[in-house]
Symmetry: C2
Subunit: 340 residues, 2 copies
């Protein structure tokens, strides 16, 4: 019998969450049943969406119950398997939450490629859901081509980091938009964007017009808000906008930054724009293409990215609270167990 | 030498135009030069966009000058040709304005099909620009399929009339939106729409929700305004919106009827909608397909439509002023000359 550890939701936060909302527990790992696999966690991903799961009430996904393990995606090693598709030592992505060990149906696991030297934890970030999101947006919705001018909002976030570099790799001119000089410097000097604008600038619209004198061909929309206001009037004819997120407007905030709908509609009509929304869970049929195309670029260092790593499952709540305050730079991870 | 007649812009309207803004003139038709063709007008199309050309100031197209012939599209007969592509007796579409005769470069003419028994004037309406607009929207942008729920705004207008009937012919369930009971009755009883809602109803959004309980798969957008507000929250997942016009918001009117952009963006994201604008002048490569597919349906009466016909070029100003007040039902035409 394995003694395992997990972090459960102790209470619902009122406003910003605190350490008191979490509780460490030990538990005996149950034996896997038929079709199930026992897992040992190596890496845990921390993501902003988890804040929403701590709330009760209606959302696009069920809330975490009081006393239940915190939701989360991990990279783990198979320790015992009753599913013929897996054997001990296999490395997988799993959704067993903030826990040192877990049992999962084999059908819910995704085996990691064995022929790729990219770091294990990259499958939670740059080669995980955020990376795939960027790949689908740039390739399938925006169909970015050489010579185009592409704007990437939330440019140094997990999605924007990859989206901008994929667009650069296709020969596009890439303008990032990020919050503050440190992130903008990173986008240009490390990620290789051609330019980065600070979305806090009151002159953002004019700066965007100067940055894209021939118009914006493609916009990867992660934020809405003042960035969209600056982009929409500067779109080029037959431009496209992939709507991937609108973080500026989550929880009903900042709606005064929205451009008026008649202005957006007029731009859509007279410039013949295409605006299309997507959610990554519809698009996992693209995972193999993504990993085979982008995996080697991550492994050989062509694609740059940042991670913020916390050691130890017990420190996951602190890392999570810090991330919600912007204390991370790039993907927030927790190292839960030793590398296999 | 042919003595011809034309209506010119005598003065710019202040507010609503009046008969005083127009003047009848006689003129000697010049002989056509090399590559030119002389024409005798049979039918003149009157369209709302002509009101905009009477104004000075910036627009998407140049204003008509004082003393210049009023802009307009006609169906005409070739009387003399110095272009090898045309011979006397050919019937063409031309842009010679409100005139009994004119001279045009052959390159600016479009020859009418000779193998189609549809009425000549239909090439200015149901088989002309408005019809082609509907065809491109329904087929190329919306890709309407059997079983889908399709909403058509401005349902009894020249574009909406065709768009709804094309969607019905594809097996879709068609909900029209129009102004007032007479137009709604026409949409259902004559055009065969399944349902028609009055955009003046204060309960339009609830009525739309009841009319489309499984959501709206396709929306042919001609108006913006309260119709869009009623549609956007009732769109189905993976729905599409073809933005063809936004007449409710022209001249900056009715902008208080716009749904807030964050609401539109949230619908685009969570429902994975595609919103795309188009202008028909990009799409004339589809004219042959349109005429060969839809021409026979107009000729055999499958496609219904209405026309309001005024006789005589001298009465064109009165017909135009009446049309601007909603006095027409369906396409407004002027019979300028005898059928060939």
């Amino acid at each position: 019998m394995t003694t395992a550890h997990r972090i459960v939701l102790a209470s619902r936060p009122k406003g910003a969450p605190t350490a008191d909302n979490f509780r460490h527990e030990s538990f005996d790992l149950p034996a896997p049943g038929a079709g199930e696999v026992a897992l040992r966690t190596v890496w845990l991903s921390l993501d902003p969406y988890m804040r929403g799961r701590m709330n009760d009430g209606p959302s696009y996904a069920a809330a975490t119950g009081i006393g239940e393990v915190m939701t989360g995606e991990v990279v783990a090693e198979v320790t015992e398997s009753h599913d013929d598709a897996f054997k001990p030592g296999d490395l997988v992505q799993a959704r067993i939450g903030w826990a040192s060990h877990g049992v999962s149906a084999g059908a819910d696991l995704r085996k990691l490629p064995t022929d790729n030297p990219a770091p294990l934890q990259s499958y939670l970030g740059i080669l995980g859901m955020p990376g795939l999101t960027a790949f689908v947006g740039v390739n399938d919705l925006l169909e970015v081509q050489s010579g185009q001018t592409v704007v990437i909002s939330a440019a140094t976030g997990a999605v924007g980091t990859m989206a901008g570099q994929l667009a650069k790799a296709k020969g596009a001119r890439v303008i990032g938009v990020a919050g503050g000089p440190e992130k903008c410097d990173f986008a240009v000097k490390e990620l290789g964007f051609d330019l980065c604008l600070d979305h806090r600038s009151p002159a953002l619209r004019d700066e965007m017009a100067m940055a894209a004198p021939d118009g914006i061909d493609r916009y990867f929309e992660n934020v809405g808000g003042s960035t969209l206001s600056a982009v929409i009037g500067n779109m080029a004819e037959f431009g496209r906008i992939a709507v991937c997120g609108m973080v500026a407007w989550y929880n009903g905030k900042n709606t005064d930054t929205a451009p008026p709908l008649p202005v957006v509609w007029r731009n859509v009509l007279t410039k013949r724009l295409r605006v299309e929304g997507f959610l990554i869970f519809d698009r996992y049929d693209r995972l193999d293409a993504f990993l085979s195309e982008v995996g080697p670029m991550v492994a050989d260092g062509t694609i740059k990215y940042r991670e913020t790593v916390m050691d130890g499952l017990d420190n996951a709540p602190d890392a999570f609270l810090s991330m919600l305050e912007g204390g991370n730079f790039g993907k927030q991870l927790v190292r839960v167990g030793d590398d296999p």
